[in-house]
C-alpha cells in the first residue's frame, strides 16, 4: 500500500501478506509467546497506548516475531473517502507515528478490549490458533515439510549434492490407467522454480492475476477459502515449537501440469484434458462444475468460480452472496470501460466452472503463431510437417516476467539446450509430490542455504527471506510496554 496511496487497489488488498497470509487487512503482529502472556487470541482487538496517543487494532500472533515487540503495517485503515476498497480495510497506525521516530515507538502498552475481529487469510484456515497451540496437524506439517520444501545448507550440499533425490523413497510407480503418450510431441513445455532465489515477494501472484483475468473475490470470500489465485506462494514455519520456528520456507506453486494428471481421470465430461504439448488444459465451455478434479488434485491449485466473480462489484465485503451486479457486461453505460481491463487473449470465466494455471497458454499460442509464420514464409511448408522451432526464451509466462529474482524459468524440454531442460536435469531438481506418479512439469530447484553463524543473542528465526518484500510495509515497532 506504501503510505496508503495504493490502498484502493483491489489486487493490493487481496494479495496476501507474505508471512501472515492476511488479506484485506493489516494486523498488530505479536510473537506467540507475547500473545500468550498477554492472554490474547488470534483476532483479539487490543488498544495500543503510548503517552497520549492510542490506536486500536486486531492481534495476529506470528511465529518468528521478536518477543515484547509489536509491529503493524502503515497504509491501511483509511477512514476518509478513499474508495470502495480502501475504506475501513484494516487499521490505521498513523496516530502512533510521530516525527520523533518515524518507524519506531518505545514504551507502548497493549491491552485487550474484549472484542474480536475476523481476519481473512489464505493459509492456516481453521487452524487459526495453530501458532499458539501445538497440535496434531502441526506435527504432521513438520513431518512432511522436508519432502515438500527440500533444502540443505551449503556445507551439507557439498558432501551430498544428491540430497533432494533422497527426500522421498518410492519403490513403485504404477498407473491404474494407460498413460497418455506424449512421446514425439513437438513441444514439452515445462517450468522450473528456484527455491534458493525465491524471496516469497508474490509479485508473480499479481502478475498472473493481471494476465489471466483472475478476479478478486473480496474479504468475505477469502474468509470462506475461495481466493482465485492461479499461482500462490506457500509459506511454512519449520521447527517443533510452533511459537519459535527454526526456519521459514516459501514455495511458489502453480498448476504443475502433471503429465499423468489425477484431475483428468475423474472429470466426467472431459473438461480437463491434455494437449499434444503436454499441457493440462481446462476447457471452460465443457466444464459443468462437478469439482471432482479439484478434490483429486493433490496440489489443490484448482480454483472454482463459486459465484460470478467477474460480474460482482469488487468491493471489500458483499452484502450477502445474492448481490450480483452485472455491470461489466452492460452494453452501454458508465462502466463499459471496466471491461477494457480484461486481457482479450484470455477467456473470462463464468460462475460454475473450474479454472487453473494454464502455463500462459495464450502466450505460447502467440509465440507459435509468430514462429510458424516465419517458418512458413521461409518456405518451411515444403517439408509438409510443421517442424518449426521456437527459440528458448521466446515464451515468457506472466509470473516469470514479474519475478524480480528470476527464480522462475519456462521453456521447452524437447530442446536439450533450453535453460529449463538444463535445470530439470540438475540433481537438485525435484517434483513436488512426485511420489504420487503425477509426473509434474513444474520442478523445483531445492533450496541451498548458507546460514551465517548464529550469535545467539536474539535467537528467533534468522532466516526471513522475505520479511518486508512487498508493497511497502513499514514496520512501525512499538515496544516493551506489554503488561503481563
Amino acid at each position: 500500500m506504501l503510505d496508503g496511496r495504493f490502498a484502493n487497489i483491489g489486487w493490493m488488498q487481496e494479495l496476501p501478506d507474505p508471512v501472515t497470509k492476511i488479506t484485506w487487512d493489516n494486523a498488530l503482529l505479536l510473537s506467540p509467546t507475547t500473545a500468550n502472556r498477554l492472554g490474547v487470541k488470534q483476532g483479539a482487538m487490543v488498544k495500543v497506548t503510548a503517552g497520549d496517543r492510542s490506536m486500536q487494532a486486531a492481534v495476529f500472533a506470528v511465529p518468528g516475531m521478536a518477543d515484547d515487540t509489536a509491529a503493524i503495517a502503515l497504509g491501511n485503515g483509511r477512514k476518509e473517502v478513499a474508495g470502495t476498497i480502501a475504506t475501513d480495510a484494516g487499521f490505521d497506525a498513523y496516530p502512533m507515528r510521530t516525527t520523533a521516530a518515524m518507524g519506531m515507538l518505545r514504551g507502548a502498552s497493549v491491552q485487550a478490549t474484549g472484542d474480536t475481529y475476523t481476519f481473512a487469510h489464505t493459509q492456516d484456515h481453521g487452524s487459526i490458533d495453530a501458532a499458539l497451540i501445538p497440535s496434531v496437524p502441526h506435527n504432521s506439517v513438520q513431518e512432511r515439510l522436508p519432502t515438500l520444501v527440500r533444502e540443505t545448507t551449503l556445507e551439507s550440499y557439498r558432501h551430498h549434492p544428491d540430497f533432494a533425490e533422497h527426500a522421498v523413497h518410492v519403490p513403485h510407480r504404477l498407473s491404474l490407467w494407460q498413460e497418455g503418450n506424449l512421446d514425439g510431441a513437438q513441444f514439452r513445455w515445462a517450468m522450473s522454480v528456484d527455491l534458493t532465489t525465491c524471496t516469497g515477494c508474490q509479485s508473480c501472484v499479481t502478475a498472473c492475476q493481471a494476465e489471466n483475468n483472475i478476479p478478486i473475490v473480496g474479504k468475505d470470500q477469502v474468509k470462506r477459502g475461495r481466493e482465485m489465485f492461479w499461482i500462490r506462494v506457500d509459506r511454512y514455519f519449520r521447527g517443533a515449537d510452533p511459537a519459535k520456528p527454526d526456519g521459514f520456507a516459501v514455495q511458489p506453486l502453480t498448476c504443475v501440469q502433471c503429465e499423468n494428471a489425477p484431475c483428468e481421470q475423474v472429470c466426467p465430461v472431459a473438461a480437463t484434458v491434455h494437449d499434444s504439448d503436454g499441457l493440462n488444459n481446462m476447457v471452460y465451455n465443457r466444464c459443468i462444475g462437478t469439482r471432482y478434479c479439484s478434490n483429486n488434485c493433490p496440489y489443490k491449485v484448482r480454483r472454482f468460480n463459486f459465484f460470478d466473480y467477474q460480474r460482482r462489484d469488487p468491493i471489500r465485503e458483499q452484502q450477502g452472496p445474492m448481490q450480483v451486479k452485472p455491470e461489466y457486461y452492460v452494453e452501454t453505460g458508465p462502466d463499459e470501460w471496466l471491461r477494457m481491463q480484461f486481457n482479450p487473449e484470455v477467456t473470462v470465466r463464468m460462475r460454475g466452472v473450474m479454472e487453473k494455471c494454464s502455463f500462459c497458454v495464450q502466450r505460447i499460442a502467440q509465440a507459435k503463431i509468430k514462429y510458424k509464420n516465419e517458418w512458413a514464409k521461409a518456405g518451411g511448408t515444403a517439408s509438409g510437417k510443421p517442424n518449426y522451432s521456437i527459440p528458448d526464451g521466446a515464451v515468457v509466462t506472466a509470473c516469470q516476467q514479474a519475478c524480480p529474482a528470476q527464480a522462475i524459468v519456462f521453456g521447452d524440454l524437447n530442446d536439450p539446450t533450453s535453460k529449463v531442460s538444463k535445470l530439470h536435469a540438475a540433481r537438485v531438481s525435484y517434483g513436488l509430490l512426485e511420489e504420487l506418479n503425477t509426473k509434474p512439469r513444474l520442478k523445483y530447484m531445492a533450496r541451498v542455504r548458507n546460514p551465517g553463524v548464529d550469535h545467539g543473542a536474539g535467537g528467533h528465526g534468522h532466516d526471513h527471506g522475505s520479511g518486508d518484500g512487498h508493497g511497502g510495509h513499514a514496520n512501525n515497532g512499538t515496544q516493551n510496554g506489554a503488561q503481563a
Binding site: 487452524s127 472431459a270 472454482f304 504420487l436
Partner: protein
C-alpha cells in the same frame, strides 16, 4: 401349526396392540401374521388406510411438517441455482461437503428396500413380506432424494445433462474413466430396477384396491395402474416369473450401487478416500443405515395405521439383528481403516486417519463411532431389540451416525490433504442446512403420500405366509378361510417342515 386364535378377539382393536411373537418354537414356523385366520382380514386391514375418509391426525401433522420442508428445499435449490454454488459453505479444498454427504446418505438408505425385496426373497425369508412394500417405497423415495444432490451440486446445473451419453452436436461423449459417470449409470439403473420391481409387486394389490374402490376417481386411478389385472392363473404365472427375474436382477444391484458410489472416493488418490476396503464397507454401511431407516419408519407407521399384526415385533426384532450385524461390520471397517493406514507406513495416509479422530473434526468422528459402533451393541439384548421406544431411538441414532460417517469421510479427508498450505475448514451455511432438511421433507412427503394412497403391506404376498395358505393346513377340513377377495396365491407354498 402355531396357535392362532381362530376367531377375532373381541374387545381388541385389531392392528393397534402389540403381541410378542418373537419366541422361537423348535420345529415350528414362527407366526408372521397375527390374530387373523381369514385372508380378507388382511385385505381389509391394509386397504382401510387408503379407503378411510381421512387419515389419522398424526398423518396431517407429519405431512404439514414434511411439506413445509419441501418448500424450504424449493427455496434453497432455487437460491442455489440462481446465485451459484457459493451459497453453500464449500471452499477450495472442501469442494464437496453436504451435497455429496447427503447423496451417499440417501443412496445408502435406499439399500434396505432392495435387500429386503430381492435378496430376502431369493433366500425365502418369509418375514420380508410384512415390510417389503414400504421398504421398497422407501428405497425409491430415498434414491429420488439422492439423485437430487448430484443434479444440483454442479456449478452449471443447466448443463448437467452432459453427464448422460446423449448423442450431440459437439460429438462428445462423457469421460468414461470418471467414477462420477459410473455413478450416473449405477444410480439410474438402480432407480429404474427398483421402481419396476416395486411396481410389479404392486399390481395385484392395486387391482384389489380397484375392485374395492367406491369412487369413480379411485376406480379409474387404481384401475389404470393395475394394468387390467384379473388374478387369472396365467396372470399369476407371468407375475411370479417377472417378480423372480426382477429379484435376480436387483440382487447384484444391491452390492454394485454402493460399491460404485464408494468408487467416487476409492478411485481418487486423496488420503482417506483412496482405500480398497470402501466397496464392502460402503455396502455394509448402506444396509445398516437402510435397515435403521426402515425401523424408523415402521415403528410410527404400524402405530399410526394399525399394522401391528402384520409388521410384528418379530419383524422389528429381525431387523434389529441385521442392524447389529451390519453395525459390527462397519465397526470392523473403521478399525481396519486405521490398521491399514498405520500398516501402509504412508505419511499422508496415517495422518488422514489420526486427523479424523483427533483433528479439527474430532467431534464428527466420535459422533460417528458412538452412533454406529457403540450404541448398536445394545441390540445384543433381546429386551432392547423388542422395546419399541428404545429401538426407535437407536434407529434414529444410527441414521445420525451414518450421516456423520459420510460427512467424516468426505469432509475430513478433503479439508486436510497433502499440502498443509491448502488446508481449510468447512462450515455449513443456512442453505446447506436447509437443503439437507428439505431432502428429509421431500422423503417424508413422498412416503406419507404413499402410506395414504397405496397398500403399505404386500397384501397378496403376505397371505402366502399365513398357515391358511398351506394346502395341508389342518383347518381346511372345517373352515374355509380362503374366501378372500383373491385366491391366496402361494408362489412357494409353505410346505411346512
Amino acid at each position: 401349526m402355531s396357535a392362532i386364535p381362530s376367531h377375532g378377539n373381541s374387545g381388541r382393536l385389531p392392528g393397534f396392540e402389540e403381541t410378542d411373537n418373537t419366541a422361537d418354537v423348535p420345529g415350528k414356523r414362527a407366526t408372521l401374521v397375527l390374530h387373523m385366520d381369514r385372508f380378507n382380514q388382511v385385505t381389509r386391514q391394509v386397504c382401510q388406510v387408503a379407503e378411510s375418509k381421512r387419515p389419522p391426525f398424526a398423518w396431517y401433522a407429519a405431512f404439514a411438517v414434511s411439506l413445509s420442508l419441501v418448500g424450504l428445499l424449493g427455496i434453497c435449490v432455487n437460491y442455489l441455482i440462481f446465485t451459484g454454488v457459493g451459497v453453500w459453505g464449500l471452499n477450495n479444498p472442501v469442494m464437496w461437503a453436504f451435497d455429496i454427504t447427503n447423496f451417499v446418505f440417501w443412496v445408502g438408505i435406499g439399500h434396505a428396500g432392495t435387500l429386503i425385496s430381492a435378496i430376502l426373497f431369493l433366500f425365502r425369508q418369509k418375514w420380508r413380506t410384512g415390510i417389503n412394500r414400504f421398504a421398497e417405497a422407501m428405497t425409491i423415495f430415498a434414491v429420488i432424494c439422492a439423485g437430487l444432490f448430484p443434479g444440483i451440486h454442479v456449478g452449471r446445473v443447466w448443463l448437467a445433462y452432459w453427464l448422460f451419453p446423449i448423442p450431440n452436436q459437439m460429438d462428445m461423449w462423457p469421460q468414461f474413466r470418471s467414477p462420477l459417470l459410473w455413478d450416473v449409470f449405477a444410480v439410474s439403473t438402480y432407480f429404474n430396477v427398483s421402481l419396476l420391481f416395486w411396481y410389479v409387486g404392486l399390481i395385484p394389490d392395486l387391482a384389489t384396491l380397484r375392485d374395492r374402490a367406491k369412487g369413480t376417481i379411485q376406480q379409474f386411478a387404481y384401475g389404470l395402474f393395475a394394468l387390467g389385472w384379473r388374478g387369472s392363473n396365467r396372470h399369476w404365472h407371468r407375475y411370479e416369473r417377472a417378480y423372480l427375474l426382477l429379484a435376480a436382477l436387483s440382487t447384484p444391484l444391491v452390492l454394485s450401487v454402493h460399491s460404485v458410489v464408494s468408487f467416487d472416493f476409492a478411485v481418487s488418490q486423496l488420503p482417506g478416500w483412496h482405500t480398497t476396503i470402501f466397496p464392502p464397507y460402503f455396502v455394509a454401511g448402506a444396509i445398516f443405515s437402510g435397515f435403521a431407516m426402515v425401523v424408523t419408519l415402521a415403528v410410527p407407521a404400524r402405530q399410526m395405521f394399525g399394522l401391528k399384526d402384520m409388521i410384528t415385533l418379530r419383524h422389528l426384532d429381525n431387523m434389529n439383528k441385521i442392524i447389529l450385524v451390519t453395525g459390527c461390520m462397519v465397526g470392523y471397517a473403521y478399525s481396519m481403516e486405521f490398521f491399514i493406514a498405520w500398516y501402509s507406513g504412508a505419511m499422508y495416509e496415517k495422518f488422514a486417519f489420526v486427523n479424523r479422530a483427533f483433528g479439527q473434526y474430532w467431534w464428527a468422528y466420535w459422533i460417528m463411532v458412538s452412533c454406529n459402533v457403540i450404541t448398536p451393541q445394545l441390540f445384543w439384548f433381546k429386551k432392547i431389540r423388542t422395546s419399541i421406544p428404545i429401538m426407535f431411538a437407536l434407529s434414529l441414532v444410527v441414521n445420525i451416525g451414518m450421516w456423520f460417517e459420510r460427512f467424516v469421510i468426505i469432509v475430513t479427508s478433503l479439508a486436510n490433504d497433502f499440502l498443509p498450505t491448502s488446508w481449510d475448514f468447512f462450515t455449513p451455511t443456512w442453505v446447506d442446512m436447509g437443503t439437507m432438511m428439505g431432502a428429509f421433507g421431500l422423503f417424508g412427503t413422498l412416503f406419507l403420500l404413499f402410506c395414504r394412497y397405496l397398500p403399505m403391506v404386500a397384501i397378496a404376498e403376505i397371505k402366502a405366509t399365513m398357515p391358511q395358505a398351506d394346502p395341508h393346513w389342518p383347518g381346511y377340513g372345517h373352515h374355509h378361510g380362503a374366501g378372500a377377495a383373491h385366491a391366496a396365491h402361494s408362489p412357494d407354498a409353505p410346505h411346512a417342515p
